[in-house]
Structures are given as structure tokens and as C-alpha cells.
């Protein structure tokens, strides 16, 4: 669609060209500071709509189980930030609160968002609170009009809060339908990837820092963040840094869905996770500007210290364990990073602290029982065994013993190289300037020597 940039500018109110510096580079921090909001402002906006300031809960029994499974008999203490306490039941309320506030301030009559995830309900909830109209565009059904129970539940939640839900069959051309609707309605594009959306998550990181300093006199050693489009990682990490927790290790976690094509009609209903998986995590980390805005404010490689993968069966196991041992019934997708935390804790010492920075609400459809039922109905084998034997789209393997839940590192250097390669290809760059090298180093949290070495390798 040739009018894409024009529609985008009108629907977000940001002239992204103001931050372009030529070549590959653009001024990320200038974009974040001029178009985003300061931490204090976000706090005020979110407090006014009862978003944020969620409790931190120590998972004593899960920690005890980790110590039982640990080879050293030691394990870090695991805490969880109970983001399900937000009005719409997930941390996405933070992003939505800012996007809707901003839309209202600029005088838009409504907000439009393209998401099949928790963000839809979050925007619907905030639009209801702040008095704007809301349309949510969802990729919902395969060609048989069969939908994932989790997406169907999100449809219900959005409609319950007064939003219009537009549903599409599988395919990336959803974006075309989305642009057409933006043009037709003149609504604000409540994209997940604008600076205000990301600034909304910064309070999450900042709250973690201040809650731990107040109660434990120190910052956590590691913060685990479920990684999909990268906004959760980016916002949380920026908030941690702003609040002083500069040394907390930021670890992204995704559910391993390798081998499943995200735009495939047949594969669409063969996955049990609709977000927080590698189908979003890896493409977005290695090419953030694939999003629905010209310059994505979510740039996870800038902040990631480590990137871990877990299996679907492992997450379902931990979801059940969280309910049984801690009395906390929460949605499975939100427990992705909890699963990695359980294994990571066993690599650490008793006195250390891990924070799992989110939970999400649970209910009909959005629960591991209907997910496993749906998987079986779609011919997926569900069984106990060795989690590494799980084949996305063919099987879900619940670990025979929790000691089998393990860490799988996704090589960040591989992701960094891939990002550089994508940059060079997408910008069709013949010569990389010093400014570009410096920018690329910041983009991937590496030094300029690493960037130069990769560029040389790619040229060869």
C-alpha cells in the first residue's frame, strides 16, 4: 500500500523521519525522550487508571522444589511480579494506559490495534476507562473457521469491554486490512511498538527495582522476561536501569516453536502458545523494524544479557505446579519465564534473587486444560517424557520429572549477527559509516570491534 507512511503518520502523530540520521542509524534515545513520557508522568497516568503497582510474591514452594532438583542442593529465591492484578489481567495494561492516554490527549475519537494477544483486552479496557472507541483486529481462525481457545477468549474479553473485534483468517496481509481501517476510521494506531507503549512498561522494571530495594535492601540478580515482540524486554530493562538496578541480568525467554510456520493455515492451530514464542521472539529481536510502525521502539537486543528457550510441555507443567504449590492460578503464556526461572535458579546460589516479571489472568480458553484439549483435538500427541523430544506441531511433552526442565540458550551472538545482516540487506547499504557501526554496536549490546568483524565476514 503506497499510502502506508502517510496513514501511519496521521494515525500515530509521530514524524519518524525527524529521528533518521541517514544510512542505517537513527537516534533511538531522542525518539524515546521526545515522543515518550518520563517515568514520573507514566506513573501518574497509570495510577489514575489503577494500572501498575502490582504485588511481588515470593514463590517459596517452587523455590523449595528447585532446591530439591538442584545438583548442588542450592537454588536462588524465585519471586513473581503479579501483573495479573492489572485491570485487564496482564502487564499489557501498562502499554495500553499510555497509548490510550496519548490518543485522547491528541484528540482522537478512538483507538485501533492489531493483536491476538492480551494487548487487545488491555486497549479495550483502557478505552472503556478513558472514554474512547476501540477496534481490535485479530488473526483468529484457520480456513475451517477454527480458532485457538486462547484467542477466542481474548475476543470475548475485548467485546465484554465494549470493543469491536474484527477477525481475520491466517496471514500477514492482516496489516493491509489494518491500514485500511486506520484510514477509514481516523483512529489512533495504538501500536505495541510506539515510544509511549514501551515507556508504559518502564514502570514495571522501575517498580521491581524499588520494591526489592525497599524490602530486601538490594536489587535482584536476574529478571526474566517473556520475549515476543520485544516490548516487554525493552521496557522492563529500561525501567530497571532508570531506577538504578543497572547490574540486574536481563534474560529473555520464549517458548520454542521452531519448525512451525507462523503464516501457515495448517500450522496455525498446531501450536499451544499464541504469543511469547520463538515465532515472534527471534524475528523481532533480529529485525525489530518489521513491526507496524516505521521505527520500532522495542529493540530487545539492546538490553538482553541472555535469551532462553523453553518447551510448551515444560510451561504447562510449571503452570500446574504454580497452582498446586503456590495457590496461584495464572495463565500459561505468562508462565513462560517462570519455567526458565525454575531451571535457572538451580544454577544459582540460595541467597540470590530471581524475578519473574509477569503473570497473566486465566479463565476459559486461556488455561492449560483447554489448550491441551485443543492440541489433542488437532492431532497433537500429549505425553510424559523428555522435554527435548517435543516436536512443535506434533507433540507436547510434559517432563516426567521437574528435574528435566532445563536451560536452552539461544546464542545471542547468532542473533546479533543476524540483526546486522538484516540491517545491511534491508537498507541496501554499500558502505557502512562509523556512525552506523557505533549505532549497530548500541543496537546489539556489543562493541564496535564485534560489529566490524561481522560486517567483514558478511562481505566475504
Amino acid at each position: 500500500m503506497s499510502r502506508k507512511n502517510e496513514i501511519m503518520k496521521k494515525s500515530i502523530g509521530i514524524d519518524y523521519s525527524a529521528y533518521e540520521t541517514g544510512g542505517i542509524a537513527f537516534d533511538y534515545e531522542k525518539m524515546m525522550s521526545e515522543t515518550g513520557y518520563a517515568l514520573e508522568e507514566i506513573n501518574e497516568i497509570q495510577s489514575s487508571v489503577s494500572v501498575g503497582n502490582t504485588p511481588v510474591i515470593e514463590l517459596r514452594n517452587i523455590t523449595a522444589l528447585a532446591r530439591k532438583m538442584s545438583k548442588t542442593e542450592q537454588a536462588a529465591r524465585i519471586f513473581i511480579k503479579d501483573e495479573a492484578c492489572n485491570p485487564s489481567g496482564s502487564f499489557k495494561a501498562r502499554r495500553a494506559a499510555c497509548a490510550v492516554y496519548h490518543a485522547k490527549k491528541l484528540g482522537y475519537k478512538g483507538v485501533l490495534t492489531a493483536t491476538s494477544g492480551n494487548y487487545g483486552a488491555a486497549v479495550a479496557s483502557q478505552a472503556a476507562m478513558q472514554g474512547l472507541k476501540c477496534i481490535v483486529v485479530q488473526e483468529t481462525y484457520d480456513s475451517r473457521k477454527v480458532g485457538q481457545p486462547e484467542i477466542l477468549e481474548k475476543q470475548r474479553a475485548c467485546e465484554a469491554m465494549g470493543a469491536e473485534v474484527i477477525q481475520l483468517s491466517v496471514g500477514p496481509e492482516l496489516f493491509y486490512a489494518f491500514l485500511t481501517l486506520l484510514e477509514e476510521t481516523g483512529y489512533f494506531n495504538a501500536s505495541l511498538y510506539t515510544p509511549f507503549g514501551i515507556a508504559g512498561v518502564e514502570t514495571l522494571g522501575a517498580e521491581i527495582a524499588s520494591q526489592f530495594m525497599a524490602k530486601h535492601g538490594r536489587y535482584p540478580d536476574a529478571v526474566l522476561v517473556t520475549h515476543a515482540g520485544g516490548g516487554n524486554v525493552t521496557g522492563t530493562a529500561r525501567g530497571l536501569i532508570k531506577a538504578g538496578a543497572k547490574d540486574a541480568c536481563v534474560i529473555g525467554v520464549s517458548v520454542d516453536l521452531s519448525g512451525l510456520h507462523m503464516a501457515s493455515d495448517q500450522a496455525f492451530n498446531r501450536k499451544s502458545f499464541t504469543t511469547g514464542h520463538t515465532g515472534f521472539g527471534i524475528p523481532f529481536a533480529t529485525w525489530p523494524d518489521r513491526s507496524d510502525v516505521p521505527r520500532n521502539a522495542a529493540r530487545s537486543l539492546r538490553y538482553l544479557d541472555r535469551y532462553l528457550l523453553v518447551k510448551q510441555g515444560e510451561v504447562f507443567y510449571m503452570t500446574e505446579a504454580l497452582a498446586a504449590l503456590e495457590g496461584l492460578e495464572r495463565g500459561p503464556a505468562g508462565n513462560t519465564s517462570l519455567t526458565a526461572a525454575f531451571a535457572l535458579a538451580q544454577e544459582m546460589k540460595d541467597g540470590q534473587i530471581i524475578v519473574v516479571q509477569e503473570t497473566e489472568y486465566t479463565g476459559a480458553g486461556k488455561h492449560h486444560m483447554p489448550q491441551l484439549t485443543f492440541a489433542r483435538e488437532n492431532g497433537i500427541e500429549v505425553k510424559f517424557g523428555e522435554p527435548d523430544a517435543e516436536v512443535p506441531g506434533a507433540s507436547i511433552v510434559l517432563p516426567s520429572c521437574p528435574s528435566m526442565i532445563k536451560l536452552r540458550d539461544f546464542d545471542l551472538n547468532k542473533a546479533r549477527k543476524s540483526y546486522i545482516k538484516n540491517c545491511l540487506a534491508n537498507y541496501n547499504v554499500k558502505e557502512v559509516s562509523d556512525a552506523d557501526v557505533k549505532f549497530l554496536a548500541e543496537e546489539i549490546k556489543a562493541d564496535t570491534e564485534f560489529v566490524k568483524k561481522v560486517i567483514k565476514e558478511l562481505e566475504a
Binding site: K68, P149, E164, I166, Q167, E173, A177, Y317, E320, H367
Partner: protein
Amino acid sequence: MSAKKGQWVQIHSIVLKPEERAPQVPEDTRKTPLVMWVKGYLNADAEIGAECEITTVTGRTVRGLLDEVEPAYAHSFGSYIPELSEVRQQVKKLLGV
């Protein structure tokens, strides 16, 4: 089956025919059209499968083929999953609780 004016319905329309789909779309998806479903209040009596017009909750007027009348939410908590009961028992046993 027919629906009355003012009833809550779901309609669908074809956004892209199979031959109009984006080149990067996988082969299985390219054999299918891109379909859009929208819900709203019916503007005039219509038969299932017939062309009709609705008004959505945001006030948009949308045309399409009538799919369902008063569509219900059918998602649930699914079937009993014996493996999950086993997980529950296992973690409690491991901790001796």
C-alpha cells in the same frame, strides 16, 4: 434460517481472493482466501448466507454475508486431562506436602 433487523449477528467477507494473496504467504495459506469476520446489529432482515449490512458497536456500517445469528462464546475449560492431575500429585509428593 433468517435473522431480524436489530439482531446481533456475525458476517464475513473476502478481503483477498487466493490469487491475490501476498507472495511471501506459504503455499497452504495461498490456496485459501483472506476472510474477515465482523459482528454488529443487522440493519434489515436477512437470510443466513445472504448479503446484508450491519452497524458495529463503534458505529461503522459494514456489508458482508450473514454467518451466524446471536453468535455465542463456545470456548471452555476443555476436557479432563489426566496428566495434569498426575503433575499436581507429583510436585506435592516431591515436596512431601
